[in-house]
Protein backbone atom coordinates (compact mmCIF):
# COMPACT_ATOMS: atom_id res chain seq x y z
CA UNK A 1 0.00 0.00 0.00
CA UNK A 2 1.30 3.43 -0.87
CA UNK A 3 1.50 5.97 1.86
CA UNK A 4 0.18 8.84 -0.29
CA UNK A 5 -0.75 11.93 1.64
CA UNK A 6 -3.76 14.10 0.95
CA UNK A 7 -4.97 17.39 2.34
CA UNK A 8 -8.41 17.52 3.91
CA UNK A 9 -10.12 20.78 4.82
CA UNK A 10 -12.22 21.19 7.93
CA UNK A 11 -14.57 23.80 9.28
CA UNK A 12 -14.76 23.36 13.03
CA UNK A 13 -17.07 25.00 15.55
CA UNK A 14 -14.92 26.76 18.09
CA UNK A 15 -16.04 28.26 21.36
CA UNK A 16 -14.09 28.80 24.53
CA UNK A 17 -16.34 30.68 26.97
CA UNK A 18 -13.26 31.98 28.82
CA UNK A 19 -11.87 33.66 25.70
CA UNK A 20 -14.54 33.99 23.00
CA UNK A 21 -17.46 36.37 23.10
CA UNK A 22 -19.35 34.06 20.76
CA UNK A 23 -18.79 30.86 18.78
CA UNK A 24 -17.09 30.94 15.37
CA UNK A 25 -16.15 28.45 12.64
CA UNK A 26 -12.43 27.78 12.23
CA UNK A 27 -11.02 26.81 8.81
CA UNK A 28 -8.20 24.35 9.18
CA UNK A 29 -6.65 21.70 6.95
CA UNK A 30 -4.58 18.67 7.74
CA UNK A 31 -2.32 16.28 5.83
CA UNK A 32 -3.57 12.72 6.07
CA UNK A 33 -1.91 9.53 4.94
CA UNK A 34 -3.60 6.34 3.80
CA UNK A 35 -3.73 4.85 7.29
CA UNK A 36 -5.91 7.72 8.52
CA UNK A 37 -9.20 6.06 7.61
CA UNK A 38 -11.65 7.39 10.13
CA UNK A 39 -12.63 10.92 11.03
CA UNK A 40 -11.19 10.41 14.50
CA UNK A 41 -7.75 9.66 12.98
CA UNK A 42 -7.96 12.99 11.16
CA UNK A 43 -9.08 14.76 14.34
CA UNK A 44 -6.15 13.37 16.31
CA UNK A 45 -3.88 14.88 13.63
CA UNK A 46 -5.84 18.14 13.82
CA UNK A 47 -5.32 18.19 17.57
CA UNK A 48 -1.57 17.72 17.01
CA UNK A 49 -1.62 20.72 14.68
CA UNK A 50 -3.77 22.93 16.91
CA UNK A 51 -3.90 21.63 20.45
CA UNK A 52 -6.53 24.16 21.52
CA UNK A 53 -9.26 22.13 19.73
CA UNK A 54 -11.29 20.29 22.35
CA UNK A 55 -13.26 17.08 21.76
CA UNK A 56 -13.98 13.88 23.67
CA UNK A 57 -12.75 10.49 22.57
CA UNK A 58 -11.74 7.25 24.20
CA UNK A 59 -12.08 3.75 22.76
CA UNK A 60 -11.86 4.77 19.07
CA UNK A 61 -13.99 1.79 18.00
CA UNK A 62 -17.64 2.75 18.52
CA UNK A 63 -18.06 1.27 21.99
CA UNK A 64 -17.64 4.15 24.44
CA UNK A 65 -19.77 6.72 22.59
CA UNK A 66 -17.54 9.64 23.62
CA UNK A 67 -16.82 11.16 20.20
CA UNK A 68 -20.39 11.84 19.11
CA UNK A 69 -20.64 15.08 17.15
CA UNK A 70 -22.48 16.72 14.29
CA UNK A 71 -20.59 15.76 11.12
CA UNK A 72 -21.62 17.60 7.94
CA UNK A 73 -25.02 18.26 9.51
CA UNK A 74 -25.67 14.72 10.73
CA UNK A 75 -24.91 13.32 14.17
CA UNK A 76 -22.47 10.43 14.30
CA UNK A 77 -19.36 9.00 15.92
CA UNK A 78 -16.05 10.32 14.60
CA UNK A 79 -14.44 6.91 15.12
CA UNK A 80 -16.99 5.09 12.94
CA UNK A 81 -17.19 7.70 10.18
CA UNK A 82 -14.95 6.82 7.23
CA UNK A 83 -12.92 9.66 5.72
CA UNK A 84 -13.74 8.39 2.22
CA UNK A 85 -17.47 8.85 2.91
CA UNK A 86 -17.00 12.63 2.55
CA UNK A 87 -17.45 14.33 -0.83
CA UNK A 88 -14.08 15.29 -2.36
CA UNK A 89 -13.03 18.92 -2.36
CA UNK A 90 -15.59 20.08 0.18
CA UNK A 91 -14.61 20.93 3.75
CA UNK A 92 -15.78 18.58 6.48
CA UNK A 93 -17.98 20.61 8.83
CA UNK A 94 -17.82 19.60 12.50
CA UNK A 95 -20.14 20.99 15.13
CA UNK A 96 -21.05 19.91 18.67
CA UNK A 97 -24.17 17.77 19.18
CA UNK A 98 -27.13 20.14 18.72
CA UNK A 99 -29.46 21.05 21.55
CA UNK A 100 -27.10 20.60 24.50
CA UNK A 101 -25.11 23.41 26.14
CA UNK A 102 -21.58 23.71 24.77
CA UNK A 103 -18.81 23.48 27.38
CA UNK A 104 -16.05 24.09 24.85
CA UNK A 105 -15.66 23.51 21.09
CA UNK A 106 -17.11 20.04 20.36
CA UNK A 107 -17.67 19.14 24.02
CA UNK A 108 -21.26 19.42 25.24
CA UNK A 109 -22.79 19.21 28.69
CA UNK A 110 -24.61 15.85 28.79
CA UNK A 111 -26.24 16.41 32.22
CA UNK A 112 -29.75 16.80 30.82
CA UNK A 113 -29.34 13.71 28.64
CA UNK A 114 -28.23 11.54 31.54
CA UNK A 115 -30.90 13.00 33.83
CA UNK A 116 -33.53 11.68 31.43
CA UNK A 117 -31.72 8.35 31.17
CA UNK A 118 -31.67 7.96 34.97
CA UNK A 119 -35.35 8.95 35.20
CA UNK A 120 -36.40 5.63 33.62
CA UNK A 121 -34.50 3.63 36.30
CA UNK A 122 -32.08 1.91 33.95
CA UNK A 123 -31.51 -1.18 36.08
CA UNK A 124 -33.31 -4.46 36.68
CA UNK A 125 -35.88 -4.29 39.47
CA UNK A 126 -36.53 -7.70 40.97
CA UNK A 127 -37.34 -8.09 44.64
CA UNK A 128 -37.08 -11.90 44.74
CA UNK A 129 -33.97 -13.19 46.50
CA UNK A 130 -31.31 -13.75 43.84
CA UNK A 131 -30.82 -17.40 42.90
CA UNK A 132 -27.49 -19.09 43.48
CA UNK A 133 -26.19 -18.50 39.96
CA UNK A 134 -28.28 -16.18 37.77
CA UNK A 135 -31.84 -15.23 36.83
CA UNK A 136 -32.59 -17.31 33.76
CA UNK A 137 -34.59 -16.37 30.68
CA UNK A 138 -35.83 -18.48 27.80
CA UNK A 139 -33.97 -17.89 24.51
CA UNK A 140 -37.17 -16.34 23.08
CA UNK A 141 -37.48 -13.91 25.98
CA UNK A 142 -33.81 -13.02 25.64
CA UNK A 143 -34.33 -12.44 21.91
CA UNK A 144 -36.62 -9.47 22.70
CA UNK A 145 -33.68 -7.59 24.26
CA UNK A 146 -31.66 -7.63 21.03
CA UNK A 147 -31.55 -4.20 19.47
CA UNK A 148 -32.10 -2.62 22.90
CA UNK A 149 -29.15 -3.47 25.14
CA UNK A 150 -26.53 -2.43 22.56
CA UNK A 151 -27.09 1.31 23.13
CA UNK A 152 -23.82 3.07 24.06
CA UNK A 153 -25.48 6.33 25.23
CA UNK A 154 -23.59 8.50 22.75
CA UNK A 155 -26.63 10.85 22.56
CA UNK A 156 -26.58 11.04 18.74
CA UNK A 157 -30.29 10.13 18.68
CA UNK A 158 -31.67 12.37 21.43
CA UNK A 159 -29.73 15.40 20.17
CA UNK A 160 -31.07 14.92 16.63
CA UNK A 161 -34.67 14.77 17.91
CA UNK A 162 -36.64 18.04 17.55
CA UNK A 163 -38.94 16.98 20.40
CA UNK A 164 -35.86 16.67 22.63
CA UNK A 165 -34.56 20.06 21.45
CA UNK A 166 -37.81 21.78 22.48
CA UNK A 167 -38.39 19.90 25.75
CA UNK A 168 -35.12 18.33 26.95
CA UNK A 169 -36.22 18.77 30.57
CA UNK A 170 -39.54 16.94 30.13
CA UNK A 171 -39.26 14.55 27.17
CA UNK A 172 -37.25 11.41 27.98
CA UNK A 173 -35.86 11.30 24.44
CA UNK A 174 -35.14 8.34 22.16
CA UNK A 175 -32.10 7.02 24.07
CA UNK A 176 -33.94 7.05 27.40
CA UNK A 177 -37.06 5.48 25.90
CA UNK A 178 -35.04 2.74 24.18
CA UNK A 179 -33.47 1.96 27.56
CA UNK A 180 -36.92 2.11 29.19
CA UNK A 181 -38.24 -0.52 26.79
CA UNK A 182 -35.11 -2.62 27.38
CA UNK A 183 -36.29 -3.06 31.00
CA UNK A 184 -40.02 -3.17 30.22
CA UNK A 185 -39.31 -6.01 27.78
CA UNK A 186 -37.12 -7.89 30.26
CA UNK A 187 -39.04 -10.87 31.68
CA UNK A 188 -36.82 -10.79 34.80
CA UNK A 189 -37.97 -7.28 35.70
CA UNK A 190 -40.88 -6.93 38.15
CA UNK A 191 -41.62 -3.21 37.79
CA UNK A 192 -43.32 -3.24 34.38
CA UNK A 193 -46.46 -1.48 35.61
CA UNK A 194 -44.54 1.21 37.47
CA UNK A 195 -42.34 1.74 34.40
CA UNK A 196 -45.39 2.16 32.15
CA UNK A 197 -47.02 4.50 34.71
CA UNK A 198 -43.82 6.54 34.78
CA UNK A 199 -43.97 7.03 31.01
CA UNK A 200 -47.71 7.55 30.59
CA UNK A 201 -47.36 11.27 30.24
CA UNK A 202 -47.95 13.79 27.46
CA UNK A 203 -44.35 15.01 27.79
CA UNK A 204 -42.25 12.05 28.92
CA UNK A 205 -43.35 9.65 26.17
CA UNK A 206 -45.95 11.28 23.94
CA UNK A 207 -43.71 14.14 22.73
CA UNK A 208 -42.39 11.53 20.27
CA UNK A 209 -44.03 12.41 16.95
CA UNK A 210 -42.33 9.56 15.05
CA UNK A 211 -39.95 11.91 13.24
CA UNK A 212 -37.40 9.06 13.18
CA UNK A 213 -34.24 11.20 13.12
CA UNK A 214 -33.09 8.88 15.93
CA UNK A 215 -33.21 5.84 13.66
CA UNK A 216 -31.47 7.76 10.88
CA UNK A 217 -28.44 8.71 13.00
CA UNK A 218 -27.93 5.80 15.43
CA UNK A 219 -24.31 4.67 14.89
CA UNK A 220 -25.19 1.23 16.27
CA UNK A 221 -28.11 0.77 13.86
CA UNK A 222 -30.71 0.65 16.64
CA UNK A 223 -34.35 1.66 16.28
CA UNK A 224 -35.66 3.77 19.20
CA UNK A 225 -38.86 4.58 17.25
CA UNK A 226 -39.75 0.89 17.15
CA UNK A 227 -39.09 0.56 20.90
CA UNK A 228 -41.29 3.61 21.56
CA UNK A 229 -44.02 2.03 19.41
CA UNK A 230 -43.77 -1.15 21.51
CA UNK A 231 -44.12 0.86 24.74
CA UNK A 232 -47.30 2.50 23.35
CA UNK A 233 -48.59 -0.88 22.20
CA UNK A 234 -48.04 -2.30 25.70
CA UNK A 235 -49.92 0.67 27.20
CA UNK A 236 -52.84 0.00 24.84
CA UNK A 237 -52.84 -3.70 25.74
CA UNK A 238 -52.79 -2.78 29.41
CA UNK A 239 -55.64 -0.29 29.05
CA UNK A 240 -58.20 -2.15 26.96
Amino acid sequence: MTNATRTVHFKIYRYDPDKDAKPYMQDISVELDSTDRKLLDAMVKLKAKDDSIAFRRSCREGVCGSDAMNINGKNGLACLTAMDSFPEGKPVVLRPLPGLPVIRDLIVDMTQFFKQYHSIKPYLINNDPPPERERLQSPEDREELNGLYECILCACCSTSCPSFWWNPDKFVGPAGLLAAYRFIADTRDQATNERLDNLEDPYRLFRCHTIMNCVDVCPKGLNPTKAIGKIKEMMVRRAI
Partner: protein, 114 residues
Protein backbone atom coordinates in the same frame (compact mmCIF):
# COMPACT_ATOMS: atom_id res chain seq x y z
CA UNK B 1 -36.90 29.38 40.20
CA UNK B 2 -39.96 27.20 39.95
CA UNK B 3 -39.54 23.48 40.35
CA UNK B 4 -40.05 21.45 37.21
CA UNK B 5 -43.13 19.28 37.41
CA UNK B 6 -43.76 16.51 34.94
CA UNK B 7 -45.91 13.39 35.20
CA UNK B 8 -49.51 14.31 34.38
CA UNK B 9 -50.37 10.63 33.90
CA UNK B 10 -52.31 10.89 30.65
CA UNK B 11 -51.51 10.76 26.97
CA UNK B 12 -52.35 7.27 25.79
CA UNK B 13 -56.04 8.01 25.23
CA UNK B 14 -55.31 11.08 23.11
CA UNK B 15 -52.59 9.33 21.13
CA UNK B 16 -54.93 6.42 20.40
CA UNK B 17 -57.86 8.73 19.63
CA UNK B 18 -55.74 10.66 17.14
CA UNK B 19 -55.02 7.43 15.26
CA UNK B 20 -58.63 6.25 15.31
CA UNK B 21 -60.05 9.63 14.25
CA UNK B 22 -57.47 9.64 11.44
CA UNK B 23 -58.84 6.32 10.20
CA UNK B 24 -62.45 7.61 10.43
CA UNK B 25 -61.53 10.68 8.36
CA UNK B 26 -59.68 8.57 5.77
CA UNK B 27 -62.67 6.21 5.39
CA UNK B 28 -65.11 9.12 5.08
CA UNK B 29 -62.88 10.76 2.43
CA UNK B 30 -62.83 7.53 0.42
CA UNK B 31 -66.64 7.28 0.65
CA UNK B 32 -66.99 10.86 -0.59
CA UNK B 33 -64.65 10.15 -3.51
CA UNK B 34 -66.63 7.03 -4.41
CA UNK B 35 -69.92 8.98 -4.15
CA UNK B 36 -68.52 11.73 -6.39
CA UNK B 37 -67.44 9.15 -8.97
CA UNK B 38 -70.88 7.52 -8.69
CA UNK B 39 -72.58 10.82 -9.65
CA UNK B 40 -73.80 11.91 -6.19
CA UNK B 41 -72.36 15.37 -6.85
CA UNK B 42 -73.54 15.77 -10.45
CA UNK B 43 -76.26 18.27 -9.52
CA UNK B 44 -77.35 20.22 -6.47
CA UNK B 45 -80.42 18.00 -6.07
CA UNK B 46 -78.37 14.79 -6.26
CA UNK B 47 -75.87 16.23 -3.74
CA UNK B 48 -78.69 17.31 -1.41
CA UNK B 49 -80.37 13.89 -1.58
CA UNK B 50 -77.05 12.18 -0.92
CA UNK B 51 -76.23 14.33 2.12
CA UNK B 52 -79.78 13.99 3.50
CA UNK B 53 -79.42 10.19 3.61
CA UNK B 54 -79.51 9.02 7.25
CA UNK B 55 -76.35 6.93 7.02
CA UNK B 56 -74.38 9.77 5.37
CA UNK B 57 -75.62 12.15 8.08
CA UNK B 58 -74.34 9.72 10.69
CA UNK B 59 -70.99 9.47 8.90
CA UNK B 60 -70.62 13.21 8.28
CA UNK B 61 -71.33 13.85 11.97
CA UNK B 62 -68.64 11.30 12.89
CA UNK B 63 -66.27 12.97 10.42
CA UNK B 64 -66.73 16.44 11.89
CA UNK B 65 -66.33 15.20 15.47
CA UNK B 66 -63.25 13.17 14.46
CA UNK B 67 -61.75 16.16 12.65
CA UNK B 68 -62.18 18.37 15.70
CA UNK B 69 -60.79 15.80 18.15
CA UNK B 70 -57.86 15.11 15.81
CA UNK B 71 -57.19 18.82 15.43
CA UNK B 72 -57.45 19.31 19.22
CA UNK B 73 -54.69 16.78 19.92
CA UNK B 74 -52.54 18.09 17.06
CA UNK B 75 -52.86 21.78 17.90
CA UNK B 76 -52.43 21.11 21.62
CA UNK B 77 -49.21 19.21 20.76
CA UNK B 78 -47.93 22.27 18.90
CA UNK B 79 -48.57 24.51 21.94
CA UNK B 80 -46.92 21.94 24.21
CA UNK B 81 -43.92 21.57 21.90
CA UNK B 82 -43.10 25.20 21.36
CA UNK B 83 -44.46 27.31 24.23
CA UNK B 84 -42.74 27.42 27.58
CA UNK B 85 -45.13 29.67 29.45
CA UNK B 86 -47.78 27.58 31.24
CA UNK B 87 -50.14 30.59 31.41
CA UNK B 88 -49.90 31.14 27.65
CA UNK B 89 -50.36 27.41 27.02
CA UNK B 90 -53.47 27.29 29.21
CA UNK B 91 -54.92 30.33 27.42
CA UNK B 92 -54.28 28.84 23.96
CA UNK B 93 -55.54 25.39 25.01
CA UNK B 94 -58.81 26.92 26.14
CA UNK B 95 -59.10 29.09 23.01
CA UNK B 96 -58.40 26.10 20.76
CA UNK B 97 -60.93 23.96 22.59
CA UNK B 98 -63.64 26.64 22.46
CA UNK B 99 -62.99 27.33 18.77
CA UNK B 100 -63.13 23.63 17.88
CA UNK B 101 -66.35 23.00 19.84
CA UNK B 102 -67.89 26.05 18.14
CA UNK B 103 -66.71 24.90 14.71
CA UNK B 104 -68.08 21.39 15.31
CA UNK B 105 -71.56 22.67 16.16
CA UNK B 106 -71.56 25.13 13.29
CA UNK B 107 -70.32 22.58 10.71
CA UNK B 108 -72.89 19.98 11.77
CA UNK B 109 -75.65 22.55 11.63
CA UNK B 110 -74.61 23.45 8.05
CA UNK B 111 -74.31 19.86 6.87
CA UNK B 112 -77.58 18.70 8.45
CA UNK B 113 -79.42 21.63 6.92
CA UNK B 114 -78.74 20.31 3.41
Amino acid sequence: MQRLVVGAGYGLKDWLAQRITGVVMAVFTLIMFAAALGGAMSSREAWQAFMANGFIRFLSFLFIVSLCYHAWVGVRDIWMDYLNSAALRLFLHVMTLLALVGYAGWAIQIIWRL
